[in-house]
């Protein structure tokens, strides 16, 4: 009976950790402003969230055929998620014309454009990335 309870708490811990990563991924997708940053947050949910939740379910199931299938799902996800991420990032790099623009983030302020930030700090450099963003490479 004691071992059953220990297993229950292990399952609960693993599921909670997985859910924490998933909540973090969704929060990051809501919080970030650019698609590539969003992809970075979503990939965490695709790997760590899936890993911990499915590990929890495997521990709950024990050594059965279902456990093997759940492990196969984890394996498939770890192979498929980078590929889909690569495709999405290529789509973003092709279709977004102003990919190279730099956004300055400061505490307690909203995002500013590069020009205003540079003029505030009186940097003599012209804004980079405006010309580089034009040549869209595949």
């Amino acid at each position: 009976m004691v071992w059953e309870w220990i297993r229950f708490f292990a399952v609960a811990g693993l599921l909670l950790v997985g859910m924490f990563f998933e909540v973090l991924a969704v929060f990051g997708v809501q919080k970030f402003k650019k698609a590539l940053n969003r992809m970075h947050a979503a990939a965490m949910g695709d790997t760590l969230g899936v890993l911990f939740i499915f590990l929890g379910l495997m521990v709950m199931r024990g050594f059965t055929m279902d456990s093997l299938k759940l492990f196969l799902v984890i394996l498939f996800f770890w192979m498929a998620s980078p590929v889909s991420g690569h495709m999405i990032s290529r789509l973003e790099a092709m279709t977004n014309p102003n990919l190279g623009e730099i956004s300055v983030i400061r505490m307690g302020e909203k995002r500013e454009s590069v020009e205003s930030a540079l003029s505030e700090t009186e940097c003599a450099q012209p804004a980079p990335g405006k010309e580089d963003a034009k040549n869209e490479s595949i």
């Binding site: 059953e4 309870w5 229950f8 399952v11 609960a12 599921l15 997985g18 859910m19 998933e22 909540v23 991924a25 969704v26 997708v29 809501q30 698609a35 969003r38 992809m39 979503a42 949910g45 695709d46 969230g49 899936v50 939740i53 499915f54 379910l57 709950m60 199931r61 055929m65 279902d66 299938k69 759940l70 196969l72 799902v73 498939f76 996800f77 498929a80 590929v83 889909s84 495709m87 999405i88 990032s89 290529r90 789509l91 973003e92 092709m94 279709t95 977004n96």
Partner: protein, 162 residues
């Protein structure tokens, strides 16, 4: 007692994942670009796969794990096909624009070369006539006018090109 605790745990996890799905759907509707939407839809697929896997243990039905595996494959295929289709559509639009621009450019250059060719021809004829009849002042007075006209055209051309 233990079964009840497991049920509570799995139900709570499923409720939280459902809330996350709703938040992701909001992002997929709001997302400014197409890639933001694809990212949100991909994440909805991931969460639904977790939901199906948890449901298979909640209902104690082992075939739902197979459904989960197939859903993962179909979701991956869907994302890849969506990305391919959108890159294809984008490239098609870009090529169409480039072709239209090339046709317009070609037509404009033909017109310009035709106009400038006429001007050159008339200027050459004027020079020829000036050489032939160097002594006559009436024809010799013409080439400066032509020469004054041509810089204007030369100044106009770059503006049109830009």
């Amino acid at each position: 007692m233990l079964g009840h605790a497991y049920e509570m745990l799995l139900a709570g996890t499923m409720i939280v994942l459902g809330i996350l799905i709703i938040v992701s759907i909001i992002r997929s509707v709001l997302g400014p670009g197409i890639s933001d939407r694809v990212i949100a839809v991909n994440m909805i697929g991931t969460i639904i796969i977790m939901l199906i896997a948890i449901l298979s243990l909640y209902l104690d039905e082992s075939y739902l794990v197979d459904v989960c595996l197939i859903y993962a494959m179909v979701s991956f295929l869907g994302v890849v096909v969506l990305c391919k289709v959108y890159t294809g559509v984008y490239l098609q639009h870009k090529n169409m624009k480039a072709n239209l621009g090339a046709v317009e450019d070609n037509l404009r250059r033909q017109e310009e070369s035709g106009v400038s060719g006429e001007a050159e021809r008339s200027a050459a004829a004027a020079e020829l006539s000036a050489e032939n009849a160097a002594g006559e002042t009436e024809i010799a007075a013409k080439p400066p006018e032509k020469a004054a006209e041509q810089p204007e055209k030369a100044a106009k051309q770059p503006k049109e090109v830009r």
